[in-house]
């Protein structure tokens, strides 16, 4: 089993934050061609991990789930970054939250494509209305910022994100924002 895109790891790590009862999740992608680096981070304000669990989760034999004995998501993400000349770090505090960061060397043979990050953000936002998301994406000097709190303020409390028109708006907004990062008008 493996993830074909970095954006699929991001989706998987977001699922951990959701399971940890986070009410706020920040996703940050930073690409610097000058530094030959792609940095990804996912931070949340969920339940966090104690020191003992935090130490265990980076190897593939830790999980608090009961359906299977091993957790794989974090070790897979870590292995993918390290295989591409990058780094991985996990910081967490019980009761406060968790931050997972991975760095990739862009030019490395084993650096997977970022992939469809818009789809990762889109599905996460629409299916988890009760969670606020902040998505920051930087490519060299350009930045795109998407904050669901701003959308919530505009829509008011009564209009859900999963209405067809709202979904279409969010999807296009993300597509356009990301497009401009890569040189599109």
């Amino acid at each position: 089993m493996m993830m074909k895109e970095i954006s699929l790891h991001v989706l998987d790590i977001i699922q951990n934050s959701i399971a940890a009862q986070a009410s706020f999740i920040e996703i940050c992608i930073e690409i610097s061609h000058e530094c030959d680096k792609l940095l990804v981070s996912v931070s949340d304000n969920g339940c966090g991990m104690d020191e003992q669990l935090r130490k265990r989760v980076e190897n593939p034999y830790a999980t608090s789930r009961t359906t299977r004995k091993v957790g794989l998501g974090i070790p897979m993400f870590k292995a993918s970054a390290e295989a591409a000349g990058g780094m991985f770090s996990l910081t967490s505090k019980l009761g406060e939250g968790t931050c997972i960061q991975a760095g990739y060397k862009l030019s490395h043979w084993d650096c997977p494509p970022l992939g469809d990050i818009a789809q990762t953000v889109y599905t996460s936002v629409i299916c988890n209305e009760n969670i606020n998301f902040l998505y920051l994406h930087r490519v060299d000097a350009r930045e795109f910022r998407f904050d669901t709190r701003e959308i919530r303020r505009t829509l008011g409390e009564d209009v859900p994100f999963n209405l067809p028109e709202v979904m279409a708006w969010i999807k296009e907004y993300l597509a356009e924002g990301i497009h401009t990062l890569y040189g599109g008008a």
Partner: protein, 125 residues
């Protein structure tokens, strides 16, 4: 460019649809999004359901995601809950199966038997 102004207009337009929606019990589509599901292709399946439901304006359907449903080798797994009926579990779902599931099961109320876990287990052992 998409603007927040447009969103504001959507808000005004859709308040009626929302009130209507509150009165009907929803059909739930739940896609398993644990690590094994994601690696096996659950994300495009989830998106396909969201797109299809939005395209047909099925206001009584909620598409949701969940953690591990339990049988990694059968991922992507999708469960459909129609009010008052037993849940139906679809296995090894791909985006091109979604149109049929939405038309036959969600809209017309007949599960697509060939895609269900029961059918799969009976024909692959």
């Amino acid at each position: 460019m998409k603007t927040l102004q447009e969103l504001e207009e959507i808000r005004k337009r859709t308040l009626d649809a929302i009130n209507l929606r509150k009165d009907t019990e929803a059909i739930r589509v739940v896609v398993g999004m644990a690590t094994c599901g994601i690696a096996a292709g659950a994300r495009p399946v989830l998106t396909a359901f969201m797109d299809e439901v939005a395209k047909r304006n099925l206001s009584n359907v909620v598409v949701a995601q969940t953690g591990c449903i339990g049988v990694c080798r059968l991922e992507p797994i999708v469960e459909i809950y129609r009010p008052g009926e037993e849940k139906v579990t679809y296995v090894k779902v791909t985006p091109d199966m979604v149109g049929r599931i939405v038309t036959e099961h969600i809209v017309n109320g007949n599960a697509v038997r060939d895609y269900t876990i029961g059918y799969y287990e009976a024909h692959n052992n």
